[in-house]
């Protein structure tokens, strides 16, 4: 479906993506990476909106930069906010479908069906400036699926959605994926993408750091150092007990009441903590993770990539 051969994209002297090799068959993919990691650049290269500086990009067997007709087979929901002051949802989606080569009547019919599918039919005749963030997101999804594409690409689809909206989005994406259609979901939040159960593509600093199934990524995560801050009135005693009962990689007293520790055995640590509290009557007033798992993962993958640490089993 998509093939990138040693693809590099430079914006003058800034690297957008760096020497990416990729061969994706039809399926569901989660493109994960921190903000500014090169996800949108990669999507734009796949769509033929950008020309690779080095290497090549193939979409459905053809060069997307030269064959804009390929875009008929793709639905894109970008991360950017739409800014149409006056158009209604129906007018906008109809116009978007028309640009795929449909006549007005047919485009309007498809737009109505699509807006109904994303649950926006009740508000489709209202100006989009009056839409909430969630409604705009639905309209964006609506315009992406209205022409029944083979591959749907969504860039940060969960942005700005409330918990109900996030759940509905997850349900929609699962339904889409279950139909056997292609799906690429770009995000910087792991657990939201994980819910769709895709194959992961981990990108950071413009490089594809790892790819694989959720199980493979969990294996990488399991080996990732986990940092935790704990607040207690007896930090020295707590530190001694933790070192005795758990594999602690590093430990630091950050203040008179706070310790910062790092471990590769987070499950073991979380099992030990209640026992210590119970047996030694130690009061722990706060436990806080210093960063989310994805950032830690990317930090570790970058170190692996630079050869600063060794790790087996990465694909």
């Amino acid at each position: 479906m998509i093939e990138l051969k040693n693809t590099t994209k430079l914006y003058k002297d800034v690297i957008g993506v760096n020497d990416i090799c990729l061969n994706l068959q039809a399926g569901t993919y989660g493109l994960l990476g921190p903000n500014g990691s090169g996800k949108t650049t990669l999507i734009n290269l796949i769509l033929g909106q950008l020309k690779p500086t080095i290497g090549s990009v193939t979409l459905f067997g053809e060069n997307p930069w030269k064959k804009s007709k390929l875009l008929r087979r793709i639905g894109l929901c970008p991360s950017v906010e739409i800014n149409y002051p006056k158009a209604t949802g129906l007018e906008w989606v109809t116009y978007m479908v028309q640009l795929h080569g449909f006549r007005f009547m047919e485009a309007e019919k498809k737009a109505k069906e699509s807006l109904d599918f994303v649950g926006l039919s009740h508000a489709m005749n209202r100006p989009m400036r009056n839409y909430s963030l969630g409604m705009r997101q639905r309209a964006k999804i609506g315009q992406a699926i209205a022409h029944d594409p083979e591959l749907l690409i969504l860039d940060e689809p969960f942005n700005g959605l409330d918990p109900i909206g996030r759940h509905e989005m997850s349900v929609f994406l699962k339904t889409w994926a279950s139909q056997g259609k292609g799906l690429i979901l770009a995000s910087h939040i792991l657990h939201e993408v994980e819910a769709i159960n895709p194959s992961f593509l981990l990108i950071s600093g413009g490089r594809l750091l790892a790819s694989g199934s959720p199980a493979e990524v969990r294996n990488i995560l399991a080996d990732t150092p986990y940092e935790l801050t704990m607040r207690t009135s007896t930090p020295k005693q707590l530190a001694t007990l933790l070192i005795e009962h758990c594999e602690i990689e590093s430990l630091k007293f950050t203040s008179k009441t706070e310790i910062l520790l790092s471990t590769r055995s987070a499950p073991q640590l979380f099992k030990v903590i209640p026992e210590i509290i119970h047996q030694h009557q130690i009061s722990i007033t706060a436990i806080r993770s210093t960063d989310d798992s994805l950032n830690t993962l990317f930090s570790m993958l970058m170190k692996l990539h630079r050869g600063e640490i060794m790790q087996g089993g990465l694909s």
């Binding site: 909106q49 739409i82 795929h100």
Partner: protein, 272 residues
């Protein structure tokens, strides 16, 4: 080709429909009413002038003023509508939605061009109609209709050619398209078109429109100025040749613009 035209018309209609905001409508209305207002004030001033302005002076001056003021309004409207063809989409963040459609780039270029010339020509028609009504008494009987038709045709050609040039500038110079367009009108078209030379001024759109207007309207400038005019501008071609040149310029600018918009990378967000 059929799809491109169909999409361009869809874009034009969508653009016009979503641009009917209070601000844009007010600007268009002000532009349309500017020439007749100025002309009306001038006629009133002349009538009540103590110096006593003769009808013959008014007869010679009012058609020229109608053309000049409507021309100014026409250019301004085209600059406002045609030049932000790409920049407005990039700033409004809608570019990525359009560019991810097959032929979306050409559609937005041609569609916005069509919208620009439709709106600008409508503004011109309103201005010309009101001006013709005002100066009707200065025109010989029956000439008002001929005057209106000639000016309408002239400004239709002006909209086609200048619209194409401004659209092209909008594609090539995204951030400074309006500045370049004003620069083109003043620097290239006005100055180059006024340079006394047989060849150089023929490269300006203004020259060809001027020649067409002299044939369609007759010599409306002061009668003793024709020899001097010909000494500066030389003999014109036939009207058909001038019209073909204008169509040719329009076609060339649109083709270059369409080629450029398809083959250019428009960076919407720096990822790295």
């Amino acid at each position: 080709m059929k799809n491109i035209l169909q999409n361009a018309i869809a874009t034009c209609l969508y653009e016009i429909r979503s641009s009917f905001t209070i601000q844009r409508t007010s600007v268009s209305l002000v532009l349309a009413l500017f020439p007749p207002t100025m002309l009306g004030l001038l006629i009133l001033g002349a009538r009540f002038s103590r110096a006593g302005v003769s009808n013959s002076i008014l007869q010679g001056f009012t058609p020229l003023l109608t053309i000049t003021l409507t021309g100014l309004v026409c250019l301004l409207s085209l600059i406002l509508w045609a030049t932000p063809n790409v920049s407005a989409e990039l700033e409004g963040k809608s570019w990525v939605f359009i560019a991810s459609r097959p032929g979306g780039r050409i559609s937005i270029f041609l569609g916005k061009y069509l919208a620009a010339i439709s709106v600008s020509f409508t503004i011109c028609i309103i201005a010309i109609s009101l001006c013709t009504f005002l100066i009707n008494s200065q025109l010989p009987t029956g000439d008002a209709v001929k005057f209106w038709i000639s000016l309408s045709g002239l400004f239709f050609l002006a909209c086609l050619a200048y619209g194409g040039i401004f659209s092209l500038l909008g594609v090539l110079f995204i951030k400074r398209a309006m500045t370049f367009s004003v620069g083109f009108v003043i620097g290239a078209d006005l100055i180059m078109g006024s340079v006394p030379g047989v060849l150089m001024n023929k490269f300006s759109i203004r020259y060809h429109l001027q020649e067409i207007s002299l044939v369609w309207l007759g010599w409306f400038l002061p009668s003793n100025s024709e020899t001097g005019y010909r000494a500066i501008f030389g003999e014109g071609y036939s009207v058909t040749a001038h019209i073909l040149i204008i169509f040719g310029v329009t076609l060339v600018t649109l083709c270059i613009g369409a080629w450029a918009i398809v083959n250019r990378e428009y960076i919407t967000a720096y990822e790295a």
